[in-house]
């Protein structure tokens, strides 16, 4: 039925399309849905092992302090306590990015935010562990806390981390794609605006949990609520525990929500593993909700300045974007987050000249990291609100103006991102028509308004987090002589439906029914590596790996079935649990018989498939963030009701269109779109991670009651349009849907508030206080606006100049022509010995610095 919508989905032809798709694109129950409604899905905290011990962590009450002394003797003496650990027991640093190996499982010498883990206890009960933690004495020497972006720029000492480039600035970058000054000179109109996007947290319903078991034969097993079992396995556990990776097994339990919050290897996961090794007993931890707030790794607060030049028709002549990220106490994914705030400005509307300056600061707060949309909702908010202002300045309809300047399909952008299919135009038209935009925009009564915004998101990071030449995703496929099909893949289901993607594609390609397919995922001992459930990479990458494995399996099976049926193998079709002649469907065998024929002649039928991303076109430092095999597109129209007396913004309805390339299971796609709209709505009007604004720098509200997120009473109506513009790089043309549809929501709401009451709220969340303040200013004849007014001085480095493709650029920076391809970790993707060259050539990479020293 999805195909009946028409459109480009039908154009793709291969033998599997000779017969209508029976599974892909058709709505069905997710493969794990029944277990979830039965309550029988085993989440990490549902696990228990005999003789299991319980762990509690002692966390720092100070935002920034040196640990002078820790005395654990009273805790260790408590009856029932089996082990107490401090940072001295786990001295090896780790971190998700090679460039920021700055975490310890337990603080070694310093604590860097309130909640930083300092010591751990394993005991026979959780009560005893809790009591024992209270008996640990820690003497701290307090250090000046870095409370804000301004502090981080102003206070160079004390440094939160010694490796930071400039005082408390972890990383600064300056990238120039063409001469923006030339572009501004050509412009008919130029705008400069400053925006702020507040931080928010993932708030998964499941509290993080982990269970570890050590066997005296030297093997370790860890079950955890993690989105990235591979990174936990190899980037944290093997490294910190000095146990060979070959003897560690990590099993990611289904996550009770992730949204990016379970993407970092976490302190407590390393701690329970060590405690299991020390005690010889299984050890478990489940974090309290308060602790989940301290783990954070959520949305970075970002201050942004954007200057855009346009022609009369809204065509962009140049854009200059600055961002300053408040990173919190550790690196996490932050360097990537920083680059992401500057990467995707170019993939929606044509930007011929582009300059990006970005910086990430350390502050003494819970570390920020990747949250749904990773580093891109903030700049998208700035860009789409500014475009709304530009459209008004130029007296253009904002939808019409955007439609005119969409990046064409198969474009290489100014910053060398290779765009494939672009369904953005269809998205805009769907929501404009559906919402009645032309009869509402600037025409609704005072207090009511509509706003529109667009966006794009990656379908998987084009380059892996750490430097390697191996595939990003692997699948093993086993065909059982009983006709069952088992898919083994390292991907982790966090609720987004990744297990179902595998089952659906396997069923489609092998012509079996969904219940015939078994999916084994997220187990580092059983499944080939998939890098994890982040960057919206899973459908595209595991899907492509599975397509390859399934094609190989079909080839084996077809060979022997063809011999028996006396037809050429290429004529065989797999459908309806049969393998038959496409020209004469009567002539066939059952799938079971076909597998048995193959197994008899060929041996056990097992195949593998791998996926590696296309080579990134950019070769400059920083080019590793932004490239993706494909880009999804979204457009939202929000309709709001603003009460001028209270400032309360009520979002009534959001029309959202999302270009998903091709639905694998439309039910899951709908769910991802609606869930993204929900999370975007929360960020637009209420969610924030505020800190007490004093030297204690405590998180203000580490509870679900006080951290405001939308309930059923705040959630708006959602009208969803699925646009299917297949991308040649996606499996069956599929692109991502888990993150992209969040992006246009906050700016659409902000633009709608302006349409309703004529004030610009240039920061999120758009709270009643901010609206009221702006309305008051408007009444007094002031600037009808709430938001930041200045972007501070930042010690930017010398710009890296990269001529865009239309100026003859080849993706290299000027003066850096010999440079190899860059990676996410900024290390060239070449042989290791070569990797030293660019560092030696000048701009020493902190990545290689760190990697070489470890």
């Amino acid at each position: 039925m999805a195909n009946a919508k028409g459109g480009p989905a039908e154009r793709r032809t291969s033998d599997r399309d000779a017969f209508a798709r029976r599974v892909v694109g058709r709505p069905h129950r997710k493969v794990d849905a029944v277990a979830k409604v039965l309550g029988s899905t085993r989440f990490a905290d549902d696990l228990a092992l005999p003789r299991m011990l319980y762990t509690r962590l002692l966390r720092s009450p100070h935002p920034h302090a040196r640990i002078v002394r820790i005395d654990t003797s009273r805790a260790a003496a408590l009856a029932g306590v089996k082990a107490v650990l401090t940072g001295q027991d786990l001295p090896v640093a780790f971190g998700i990015l090679p460039v920021s190996q700055d975490e310890h499982a337990l603080a070694v010498d310093k604590v860097r935010y309130v909640g930083d883990p300092v010591a751990a206890v394993a005991a026979t009960s959780e009560d005893i562990a809790t009591a024992a933690v209270d008996l640990i004495d820690v003497e701290y020497e307090l250090l000046t806390p870095i409370t804000s972006l301004d502090d981080a720029l102003r206070i160079h000492e004390p440094r939160i981390h010694d490796y930071a480039k400039h005082g408390n600035l972890q990383k600064v970058t300056d990238l120039e794609f063409g001469n923006v000054e030339t572009g501004f000179a050509e412009a008919d109109h130029i705008r400069e605006d400053v925006f702020f996007y507040e931080g928010s947290t993932h708030l998964p319903m499941e509290q993080h949990a982990a269970l570890a078991e050590w066997s005296p034969d030297g093997k370790l097993t860890v079950w955890a609520s993690t989105q990235t079992p591979h990174y936990l396995h190899q980037r944290a556990l093997a490294r910190v525990l000095s146990v060979p990776a070959s003897r560690i097994r990590v099993i990611a339990c289904p996550n009770g929500g992730g949204f990016g919050g379970k993407s970092d290897p976490m302190n407590h996961e390393v701690v329970v593993a060590k405690l299991a090794m020390v005690t010889g007993r299984p050890v478990k931890i489940t974090l309290t909700r308060e602790e989940v707030f301290y783990c954070h790794r959520g949305r970075h607060p970002v201050l942004m300045w954007v200057k855009t030049g346009v022609k009369q028709d809204g065509a962009i002549t140049a854009m200059h974007f600055k961002s300053l990220l408040d990173g919190g106490g550790y690196g996490s994914y932050g360097v990537a987050s920083m680059y992401y705030t500057g990467a995707l400005q170019t993939v929606t509307y044509q930007v011929p000249r582009y300059k990006f300056q970005g910086a990430r600061a350390f502050t003494n707060k819970a570390p920020c990291g990747p949250k749904r949309g990773h580093g891109t909702p903030q700049p998208r908010f700035a860009l789409e609100v500014q475009l709304d202002k530009i459209a008004e300045d130029l007296k253009l309809d904002p939808a019409e103006m955007r439609l005119r300047h969409i990046v064409p399909p198969q474009t290489l952008t100014a910053n060398f991102l290779r765009v494939g299919s672009v369904g953005l135009g269809a998205c805009i038209r769907k929501v404009v028509d559906g919402s009645g935009w032309t009869t509402k925009f600037r025409q609704l009564p005072h207090g009511r308004g509509v706003g529109l915004a667009c966006s794009s998101y990656i379908c998987g990071a084009g380059v892996p987090i750490y430097w390697n030449d191996m595939p990003q995703s692997g699948v093993q496929l086993k065909l059982d002589r009983g006709g069952g099909v088992t898919v083994f893949c390292g991907s982790t289901d966090i609720g987004q439906g990744s297990d179902d993607v595998l089952a659906t594609i396997a069923a489609e390609m092998l012509g079996v029914d969904l219940p015939d397919v078994h999916v084994v995922t997220a187990d580092t001992s059983l499944t080939p590596v998939d890098l994890g459930s982040y960057s919206s990479r899973v459908t595209l990458m595991t899907g492509n790996a599975l397509v390859q494995a399934a094609e190989r399996a079909r080839e084996i099976v077809a060979t022997y079935a063809a011999a028996k049926l006396e037809v050429p193998p290429h004529r065989l079709v797999f459908a309806g649990r049969r393998v038959f002649d496409g020209g004469n469907s009567e002539r066939g065998v059952t799938f079971v018989e076909a597998v048995q024929l193959a197994e008899a002649a060929h041996g056990t039928v097992v195949t593998v498939g791998s996926y590696r991303t296309p080579t990134a076109a950019g070769r400059y430092r920083g080019a590793g963030v932004g490239p993706s095999p494909a880009y999804s597109y979204s457009t939202a129209v929000a309709e709001v009701d603003v009460d001028p007396d209270t400032g309360i913004v009520r979002v009534e309805r959001i029309w959202i269109a999302h270009d998903v390339g091709q639905c694998i299971n439309p039910v899951s796609v709908m769910g991802q779109v609606e869930g993204s709209v929900y999370m975007g709505l929360g960020e637009a009007v209420m969610e924030e991670m505020p800190y007490r604004d004093n030297r204690n720098l405590m998180h203000k509200i580490p509870s679900m009651l006080e951290y405001k997120s939308p309930t059923t009473l705040e959630m708006c109506d959602v009208v969803t349009y699925l646009v299917e513009d297949p991308d040649p790089n996606g499996p069956f043309g599929a692109k991502e849907v888990g993150q992209g549809p969040l992006l246009p929501v906050p700016p659409a709401v902000a633009n709608a508030v302006y349409d309703a009451v004529g004030v610009r709220i240039d920061e999120v969340p758009i709270t009643p206080e901010k609206v009221l303040r702006a309305l008051k200013d408007k009444t007094k004849g002031g600037v009808p606006r709430f938001g930041p007014t200045r972007f501070p001085e930042v010690p930017w480095p010398e710009p890296i100049r990269v001529p865009p493709p239309w100026e003859g650029g080849d993706g290299s920076a000027l003066g850096d022509a010999g440079r190899q391809r860059a990676t996410a970790g900024e290390q060239p993707r070449t042989r290791r010995s070569d990797a030293r060259q660019p560092a030696a050539a000048g701009r020493a990479s902190p990545v290689s610095d760190r990697e070489d020293s470890t």
Binding site: G39, T130, G497, P666, M670, G671, V673, T711, L713, M715
Partner: protein
């Protein structure tokens, strides 16, 4: 698992009816119903998201009324009837709410799902044809971070229709979006 219970004092006997079966236990006075269900009875289908009564995840019904099991002391439930997600299916047959939640993708990560289905079941028991607003009201104490609640409303409406004996099907737009 809740924390910070005071150190062990004597256990008291407790008789409950759980999903139609009588169970007899000895529990410490400070033990919550959530802990008894998950730890003593192995009924891990009941989840927890805060253990402070803020998120609704641990919702079960007590004599048909939805309650937060993390705030309910076990001993306060003496002689009462508790229903958890494990009691919803009829043998191997899914409850209409379970079917509808599965069909519509109303369970994404599935963590809030048991609590929400029990709250919805109690709603439908008292009001076989709840309006959308009544559903929102009844579920306003249950947070879900995955779905945006939309598919949950639709699943409750679909299940309610089935429970009224109607031949209902999911709307096309729920499955494919608007045209």
């Amino acid at each position: 698992m809740a924390r910070r219970r005071s150190e062990a004092s004597g256990k008291a006997p407790l008789t409950l009816e759980v999903n139609g079966e009588t169970v007899e236990l000895a529990v410490t006075p400070q033990k919550t119903l959530l802990e008894i269900l998950r730890e003593d009875l192995g009924l891990t289908g009941t989840k927890h998201g805060c253990e402070l009564g803020e998120c609704g995840t641990c919702t079960v019904t007590l004599d048909g009324v939805p309650i937060l099991s993390c705030l309910m002391l076990g001993l306060a439930c003496e002689g009462k009837s508790v229903r958890t997600v494990e009691g919803m299916a009829h043998g191997a047959e899914l409850h209409p709410l379970q079917r509808a939640f599965a069909d519509l993708g109303a369970a994404q990560c599935g963590y809030c799902t048991p609590g929400i289905m029990l709250a919805a079941e109690a709603l439908i028991a008292g009001n076989p044809s709840p309006t959308r607003d009544q559903i929102k009201d009844a579920l306003s104490g249950n947070l879900c971070r995955c779905t945006g609640y939309i598919k949950i409303y639709e699943a409750v409406e679909l299940a309610a229709a089935w429970m009224r004996g109607e031949e209902a099907r999911p709307r096309e737009e729920s499955l494919y979006g608007e045209r």
